[in-house]
C-alpha cells in the first residue's frame, strides 16, 4: 500500500534558526507533493505545491525565500523553514499525490520554536 514517511517527527529549534524536514513516498510514485502547515486552532494552510520537473507553486503568504523546497524525484521532497519564529510553529504535513487524484498524508513534522 501507499505510505508516506516524514522526518523528523518532532523538532525543536531556537528562534531565528532553520530546520529541514523530509517527505518520502514509499510504494508509489508521487506525481506531486503538497506541503501544508497545520497551526494550533487552524485548518490546513497550503504552503506550496511541488511537481517534479515543474516550477514550485507557492501560496500567498508563503515564499521560496522562507520555505525553500527541493523535489529531486518522484519519491522524495524536502522543505526548509528558514529563520523560524514563533508563528512558524505547528504541524507540517506533506501530501503526496498520485494521478488518480488521491492524496496521502505523511505523519507530519511537529515544529516547536523556542
Amino acid at each position: 500500500g501507499a505510505l508516506v514517511y516524514q522526518y523528523p517527527r518532532r523538532t525543536i529549534c531556537k528562534s531565528g534558526t532553520s530546520m529541514r524536514m523530509e517527505c518520502q513516498a514509499v510504494g508509489f510514485q508521487a506525481t506531486s507533493v503538497a506541503w501544508y502547515r497545520q497551526s494550533p486552532q487552524k485548518t490546513f494552510e497550503l504552503i506550496a505545491l511541488s511537481t517534479v520537473n515543474s516550477a514550485i507553486k507557492y501560496e500567498q503568504n508563503f515564499t521560496q525565500e522562507k520555505f525553500p523546497i527541493s523535489h529531486p524525484n518522484l519519491s522524495f521532497s524536502s522543505m526548509t523553514v528558514l529563520n523560524a519564529y514563533l508563528e512558524d510553529r505547528g504541524l507540517y504535513l506533506c501530501g503526496a499525490r498520485v494521478l488518480d487524484y488521491e492524496q496521502y498524508f505523511g505523519p507530519g513534522t511537529r515544529l516547536t520554536v523556542l
Binding site: 506525481t31 506531486s32 503538497a34 485548518t43 490546513f44 497550503l46 505545491l49 511537481t51 504535513l93 501530501g95 499525490r97 487524484y101 488521491e102 492524496q103 496521502y104 498524508f105 505523511g106 505523519p107 507530519g108
Partner: protein
C-alpha cells in the same frame, strides 16, 4: 474562488446514535473530486471517503457520503457512532489535474458513552 464550508466547532453525539457532519462547497470547476479526511489525536489525517460522481453513495468504515451537485454538498453520515469515531473530520475539494486541495476548517466529533 473555490471554498469548502463545514459544520464548525465541536459536535458531541452519544454512542450508538446517528451523526451527520455537513459539508458544502463552491467551485468554478466541473472536474472536481471530494474527500473526507479523519484525523485522530496526534496523528496525520487519513483518507476516509472520496467521490467525484454525482448522486452516488460512497461508504467506508461505517461512514457514508453522497455527492449532491444540485445542492453543492457532500455531507458525512454514520447511523451509529462509536467511541472510537471521536476525531477531527475534514471535508476537502480537489480541482482536476494537479490543482489544489481546498480544506474545510474541520469538525471535531466527540462521542460520549
Amino acid at each position: 474562488g473555490d471554498s469548502v464550508t463545514q459544520t464548525e466547532g465541536l459536535v458531541t453525539v452519544t454512542e450508538g446514535l446517528p451523526v451527520m457532519l455537513n459539508c458544502t462547497y463552491q467551485t468554478a470547476y466541473s472536474d472536481v473530486a471530494f474527500f473526507w479526511y479523519v484525523q485522530y489525536l496526534n496523528e496525520a489525517p487519513k483518507l476516509l471517503l472520496r467521490s467525484s460522481t454525482d448522486n452516488k453513495r460512497t461508504e467506508h468504515q461505517g461512514f457514508h457520503a453522497t455527492l449532491h451537485k444540485s445542492s453543492s454538498s457532500f455531507h458525512l453520515q454514520k447511523s451509529s457512532v462509536q467511541l472510537s469515531d471521536s476525531a477531527l473530520y475534514y471535508c476537502a475539494l480537489r480541482e482536476g489535474g494537479y490543482q489544489n486541495f481546498y480544506f474545510g476548517k474541520g469538525t471535531s466529533l466527540t462521542v460520549i458513552p
